[in-house]
Amino acid sequence: MIYEVFLKKDGRDEYRHAGALEAANDELALVLARESYLRRAEGSRLWLARRDHIIEGGTDFVAPNADKPHRHHDGQAVAAHRKQVREDRS
């Protein structure tokens, strides 16, 4: 089985994806991930997730939102509008 490896350092950093490894079971995955990914103190906590347990949204599902520019506004139009309304009222 393939396991995805996530590491977290002490403090406020979030878990970050570090790589993957193949192992026959959960315990072996833990034992092997420790020396493959943490032997130089790259993190102080470890998550392993079986790849087949990950719920994936593929590009076909996710991509269409890229062609909706109205969802990508940077707030300038709204800010300008609010300013205009404030000025009109005063």
């Binding site: 490894l21 315990e27 034992v31 092997l32 020396e35 493959s36 032997r39």
Partner: protein
């Protein structure tokens, strides 16, 4: 400490240190050739841990000898004694290219090593107690690693047979690992160690029964009376490999 106490303590520490040193060397010789990459990293890390334990024990020896524990002094002690001055067991001197043997030996060695650290956890020698805490922590991982692999492999008939064959090859060597330091009784009397290596025999027999479902007996295996004072035929080539780089340029500073 009196001179004779110092002498017996040093002898006791060297017996442990030399096993750690040679076991570490044997494990690290698998780098690049274990059956898969992750195991390559794990197994050589474990080997490095054992080498680290050896260094800590050699440092204690040098301290008792009144020698400053510089890298050069540690190397001198670790690599430059005569064959007779080493106290290693035939069990760790034995070199193998068989992965099943390397794995079973790892499990047996760490089963025994864990107990050896426990036996010095209350030592009258304070720095040895400290070393045992650190090494004991690492042993938890070593044992878990060996057991995880064996748990998995023993479910396959083909792998199980290879492991049992390996156990059969290693069994005659086990008494050498259990053989006490020549000075063990003195170290016991001085409180340097809290238990005798004779106690390890039945413990290991039981552990092997639980682990492999096989009954072994070490008592019936012929053993030289002072096993720790003689080296097996595997020692010379092994120490030769270990000295190879040092010998290449003896004056080099590391």
């Amino acid at each position: 400490m009196t001179d004779s106490t110092t002498h017996s303590t040093i002898d006791f520490l060297l017996t442990f240190a030399d096993d750690e040193h040679l076991m570490g060397q044997q494990h690290t010789e698998w780098i690049g050739i274990t059956p898969f990459l992750e195991e390559d990293l794990a197994f050589s890390s474990i080997g490095q841990d054992e080498l680290g334990h050896a260094v800590m024990l050699y440092e204690l020896v040098l301290e008792l000898q009144g020698i400053e524990a510089t890298d050069t002094a540690i190397d001198e002690l670790a690599y430059r004694r005569t064959d007779e001055e080493y106290r290693s067991s035939a069990f760790v001197e034995y070199s193998t290219e068989d992965w099943a043997q390397a794995l079973v030996r790892h499990w047996i060695y760490d089963t025994v090593e864990e107990q050896r650290w426990n036996m010095v956890a209350e030592s009258s020698l304070q720095p040895l107690r400290e070393v045992s805490v650190r090494a004991g922590r690492e042993e938890v991982y070593h044992r878990r690693h060996a057991n995880a692999l064996l748990d998995s492999l023993l479910t396959s008939d083909a792998a199980r047979q290879k492991l049992l064959d390996a156990l059969e090859v290693l069994t005659p060597l086990v008494p050498s690992l259990l053989a006490p330091a020549p000075s063990e009784q003195a170290a016991l009397n001085d409180g340097v160690v809290g238990g005798s290596s004779a106690a390890l025999d039945s413990l290991l027999v039981e552990a092997i029964q639980d682990r492999f479902g096989v009954e072994v007996s070490f008592a019936t295996i012929d053993q030289p009376p002072q096993a720790r004072l003689t080296r097996s035929e595997h020692f010379a080539p092994l120490i030769g490999r270990m000295r190879e780089v040092l010998d290449y340029d003896p004056e080099a500073s590391w």
